[in-house]
């Protein structure tokens, strides 16, 4: 079905829903690269006017990419629950935006399985940044493994102790540097330098020894390929969380070397280990706008809508953590701080609306028109939006992946500024070792480091 909108004597025409969504998207370089972006500022707003009048039901009747056989599309169709959809079934996209602004958290959470990614992407395109923050803040998605992540009033962090050569001592030192600023309650997660099974197992064992040595109530993860994780589990490695990068179409997922069935196999393997204490949510996914286009698996769909389709994949699994790696992909997809901030807020909102335990890697590369000031704004905005977790590295500098994320300090400063606390299990550990004082402020951990530091060198042996 085609759509159009008239301003005065100009008639703006959009050949199908896919094109309407693309033209209505706030400006970003990736949609320009794909040839999908609105060709003028007025065309973008015409598309938004038009989109505001589209009934949500139209997204059920009109498949976004009908010419493509795609298991993600099939999954999305199968996920739709008409009873959950009922409260919003009669609304247009524009009216749905207003419904979201007025509804309370439980009412919004109740429609999650009635919404499709296309509806969620559509409404986000009509929302200002403040709308994305205030609506997301009403939605709590709480998950657990050894910590409970996503409780109101908390913000967790992935402690990311990457090292260019996976040196065990280098990883252990970096992890401890994060612990003393209160980072690690989402996960202690390492991006491995190689994808070999033996290296995966070696680093998995290291992180588990670290946990046992310091009696940490946290989970660990080596972010290798999902098939590497399955192999490591079969070989008896102490795997807590299984990681995979995912995207919003079957062919983009094939570009990552995965399918829904491989992900199910991985989840079964992780679950069978039963290593969680307060929960068994054992999957960890990363996503990011532009991933599908970069593997030519976007099928003419704009990058933000494609990203929301990835959350349909994520919500089919028991995830502890899902995060968009928002600024990592580079300026050809998100050009500057303005585009990265907008995308980070969209991704978090859309994930939460679909019931995904959403976090964000607040980050950028050196060739993007962005700096730490932009990251500060995105972090504080996301914290206001109730983001489940962020990622922190020593001094904001990831020496292995060569990009900038947040510093552990940024997390500590944020918690102090907004009165947010770590996940309760980890907060208790931090207090017990005087790493946080009674007011919840980081102390520098002088006492704990006396004992912990001595043990650290053993990881280099």
């Amino acid at each position: 079905m085609s759509y159009s909108h008239i301003f005065g004597t100009t008639r703006w025409h959009f050949e199908d829903l896919r094109m309407l969504l693309a033209r209505a998207a706030p400006h970003r370089s990736g949609d320009v690269l794909a040839g999908l972006a609105a060709r003028s500022a007025e065309e973008r707003i015409a598309a938004q006017y038009c989109l505001a009048d589209v009934p949500l039901k139209a997204f059920l009747a009109d498949a976004l990419m009908p010419e493509v056989a795609d298991e993600v599309s099939d999954l999305i169709a199968a996920q739709h629950a008409s009873d959950a959809f009922a409260p919003v079934a009669s609304l247009t996209v524009g009216a749905f935006r207003e419904w979201l602004l007025g509804a309370d958290g439980p009412a919004i959470a109740a429609v999650a399985w009635g919404l499709t990614p296309d509806m969620v992407a559509a409404v986000s395109k009509l929302m200002r940044n403040a709308d994305l923050i205030s609506v997301a803040r009403k939605i709590n998605v709480v998950r657990a493994f050894r910590t409970t992540v996503g409780l109101p009033g908390t913000i967790a962090a992935r402690n990311q102790p990457n090292h260019p050569t996976d040196d065990p001592l280098g990883i252990a030192i970096s992890a401890v540097d994060g612990l003393i600023y209160g980072s690690g309650d989402a996960v202690i997660g390492v991006n491995p330098a190689t994808d070999s099974v033996s290296d995966y197992i070696r680093t998995t064992r290291l992180l588990d020894e670290l946990r046992l040595t310091y009696d940490l109530p946290v989970q660990s993860c080596v972010l290798g390929h999902v098939t590497t994780a399955i192999e490591a589990i079969n070989l008896g490695a102490p795997v807590d969380l299984v990681f995979q990068s995912i995207a919003g179409s079957q062919s983009a997922n094939a570009g990552f070397g995965v399918s829904l069935s491989i992900l199910r196999e991985a989840q079964d393997a992780a679950r069978a280990l039963g290593r969680g204490t307060v929960g068994q949510d054992a999957m960890y996914f990363e996503t990011g706008q532009g991933a599908a286009l970069s593997s030519n698996g976007h099928h003419g769909v704009d990058q933000q809508t494609m990203e929301v389709r990835a959350y349909a994949v994520a919500r089919a699994f028991d995830c502890l953590l899902v995060n968009t790696v928002v600024g990592f992909i580079g300026p050809e997809y998100l050009y500057d701080g303005k585009q990265i901030i907008r995308a980070g807020l969209e991704d978090h909102f859309c994930g939460k609306l679909l019931g995904v335990p959403m976090g964000c890697d607040v980050c950028y590369t050196n060739h993007a028109e962005a700096d730490q000031n932009d990251m500060d704004l995105l972090l504080h905005s996301l914290a206001n939006a109730g983001v489940n977790f962020v990622i922190t590295v020593p001094g904001a500098d990831d020496v292995m992946l060569n990009y900038q994320s947040l510093a552990h300090h940024d997390l500590a400063q944020l918690r102090e500024t907004l009165g947010l606390t770590p996940a309760p299990e980890f907060a208790a550990w931090l207090a017990q070792h005087d790493i946080l004082d009674r007011a919840g402020r980081v102390t520098g951990a002088q006492t704990w480091l006396q004992g912990a530091g001595a043990k650290l060198l053993e990881f280099g042996a």
Binding site: S29, L33, I173, G395, R415, L449, G453
Partner: protein, 245 residues
């Protein structure tokens, strides 16, 4: 008076962490001011980021490189289909193509070579200005005696544009030296890509890559030896990169 002054919450790094700094390049043990970063840590990060940013917009020193690499009619100077630095960053598709003028000039050129050596600014002209000439000088003695080499300077180019240059000049192989994305620890890393029998649609997996060539990274002479080895391996196998199953 002094009793009313606020307590300065400035925590120095524990000796334990200071002593561990020698084991990692990560920015550990920075200390804290309140719960935030100390001033010196903020300034050091800003300096490293500033250098990376400057490297991305650094000028490609075409005249100096042309003089240093002068070899008969070589080097030729060409440009990609990109028309500005901003477009270079946002349109990788155009960076992989040659401009119409450059394409025509190459096709009309009578120059021929076995190995086309493309020097491209990429994301850090600084890396190329600094490292390309020493690397080429170190590489030449390592190449087979009969091999003819033609050098081409490419402005605003991505790796795949080298394939098109080699195709236009009917070269058997292309070695592209290109400025890598600057990191905080180094802004002058050079990357080298070896492609045997390049095509217009060569996949990334069909190339050999040597990265982080710079002082303090992979040194020039080691890189030259490795590149020569990869070229010889490609010649013997009749292809470069990962084998297709």
């Amino acid at each position: 008076m002094s009793d009313d002054r606020p307590v300065l919450r400035r925590v120095l790094t524990a000796d334990v962490m200071t002593n561990l700094k020698r084991f990692t390049d990560a920015r550990i043990g920075l200390g804290q001011a309140g719960s935030g970063l100390p001033t010196q840590a903020v300034l050091r990060f800003s300096l490293d980021h500033a250098r990376a940013r400057d490297a991305i917009s650094s000028a490609f020193e075409v005249s100096a490189l042309s003089r240093a690499l002068k070899d008969g009619a070589w080097p030729l100077v060409v440009e990609s289909a990109v028309t500005s630095r901003e477009e270079y960053l946002t349109r990788p598709d155009l960076g992989r193509l040659l401009s119409g003028t450059s394409q025509t000039r190459l096709l009309q050129s009578a120059l021929r070579c076995d190995l086309c050596l493309v020097v491209a600014d990429g994301l850090s002209a600084l890396a190329v200005n600094r490292n390309a000439v020493p690397l080429i000088e170190a590489l030449r003695p390592c190449l087979p005696a009969g091999l003819t080499v033609g050098t081409v300077l490419l402005r605003n180019g991505r790796v795949a544009a080298g394939d098109r240059i080699a195709l236009a000049l009917k070269a058997q192989a292309v070695l592209t030296l290109i400025g890598e994305r600057p990191g905080l620890s180094a802004a002058d890393s050079l990357g080298a890509y070896v492609t045997w029998h390049p095509r217009a649609d060569t996949r990334d997996a069909e190339r050999y890559c040597v990265s982080n060539i710079r002082t303090g990274g992979m040194d020039i002479s080691a890189a030259a030896t490795l590149i020569a080895t990869l070229l010889e391996r490609s010649r013997l196998a009749g292809r470069s990169g990962v084998a297709l199953v």
